[in-house]
Symmetry: C2
Subunit: 231 residues, 2 copies
DNA sequence: GGCGCATATCTTGTATACATAACGGTGATT
DNA sequence: AATCACCGTTATGTATACAAGATATGCGCC
């Protein structure tokens, strides 16, 4: 009855195009290929030392996730993601997280409660140490815990995917004044609500928590625009 | 200043793999390739009279949308979507639609109100004519109108995509007793709520409207299982 | 006769070659 | 001088060829 070792579910990406996809995605979100960049297949192939075939496959995959645009016979480009589009994405993200919170409040298991509390405490430590980068990472874990506590695998996938896509824009706000403290306080309220089993409250708090990020992003964009105009 | 004709934004799918993707998707959702089917690349290539390259590209695209599973070196298969997974998807769909409804109530334009009312009336006609197939199609239009009235392009995309993926399972419930009448009445309430600008109500109604579909699906599955067991 | 291992075959993954549409430049014409 | 047409170049889309892993078969061994 005791299966000692599960056959290791990690053979994973044996396919070159998959690794390529991640590499290119990395370069897109880190700004190595900024919006508007034209992605030449041959060029990418040379860069990564492979042929065009896997590159094409990677590009197609990225395009169907929405990270790049492929226009027939015109190649792939990193879309200029219009700030408004990003705001739209934050709006949806807020709702997905709210949903996770509502479900989590109803369905979270004792074990998951502990895991959530741990992630929360870790964030606290990072806040006290005033290490935004670490807080940022732990924050991701915290949210992931909530996703999982929703006990809806599909939702977890969707939320995780969108969270990933928004990462670069969230990152922009890392060093905003008092961001960590504010964020942590919000987390605290969210944890309480989930623990109490108050789904509506958890939902509302999470929605606000994420919506704020979207608004901050909008502010940032507006500021940048003014800055540009002023130059 | 007056550009008379915009260069026609509709060259679209010049890429064979894109058409292939749609064709294969069609065959998956219509049950030609039922869950568990192994999709042999060469076989598909022969079937559609093309080489393996576009087939592979199509498969990769389908896999990143979640319609098929590709395990490295082991080919593509139509996943056995577990009924529970479908229920999860309905749960998320309900929330996305609820969100569309809430936003639509706040943001819908007069023109969109008319369009929504038209779609609704069309459904009414189909109900009176007792033509479920037609009602089914018009129902899709109705929901699409609500999506669009949310004025969140990203949300529209996400909702549309998920709606598409759930289509086959929704289709199962086509001829349930009184389905059309019940559905239409719910639609009526939703239209009213949106028109009144009552976002919370529209949201709640839509969530229920879709959740019911998920539950119906679950019932159906349970029934089928009992039926099987009884045989 | 059952089990394990080596080999054979088949399918996927990658590279290369070829076809074709889009882009740019040059030249002629109005 | 400006515009349009034609042609050459370049990059994408597709087909084919090759490499390598996975599955299946058959043989030997226990």
């Amino acid at each position: 009855m005791s299966i000692v070792s599960i056959p290791a579910e990690i053979p994973a990406a044996t396919r070159q195009s998959e690794r390529l996809g991640e590499l290119i995605e990395e370069r897109i979100v880190t700004g190595v290929y900024p919006p508007g960049t034209r992605l030449d297949e041959q060029e990418l192939a040379d860069t990564f030392g492979v042929s065009r075939t896997p590159v094409r496959e990677a590009l197609i995959q990225l395009s169907s996730v929405g990270l790049i645009e492929i226009r027939p016979r015109r190649g792939a480009t990193v879309p200029e993601i219009g700030a408004d589009r990003v705001c739209e994405m934050f709006e949806v993200m807020a709702e997905l997280e709210a949903m996770c919170g509502r479900l989590a409040a109803r369905r979270i298991t004792p074990g998951e409660q502990i895991a959530l509390q741990e992630a929360h405490s870790a964030c606290e430590a990072a806040r006290d140490a005033n290490t935004p980068d670490i807080y940022y990472q732990l924050n991701e874990v915290f949210h992931q815990r909530i996703y999982e506590a929703s006990h809806n695998g599909f939702l977890v996938e969707q939320a995780t995917a969108l969270h990933r896509r928004l990462r670069p824009y969230r990152r922009l706000q890392l060093r905003v004044r008092n961001r960590m403290t504010t964020s942590f306080n919000e987390h605290q309220a969210i944890v309480d609500a989930i623990t109490k089993g108050d789904g509506d409250l958890a939902s509302a708090l999470l929605r606000a928590h994420v919506t704020v990020q979207g608004e901050r992003f909008a502010d940032l964009v507006a500021t940048l625009r003014d800055f540009k105009a002023g130059t």
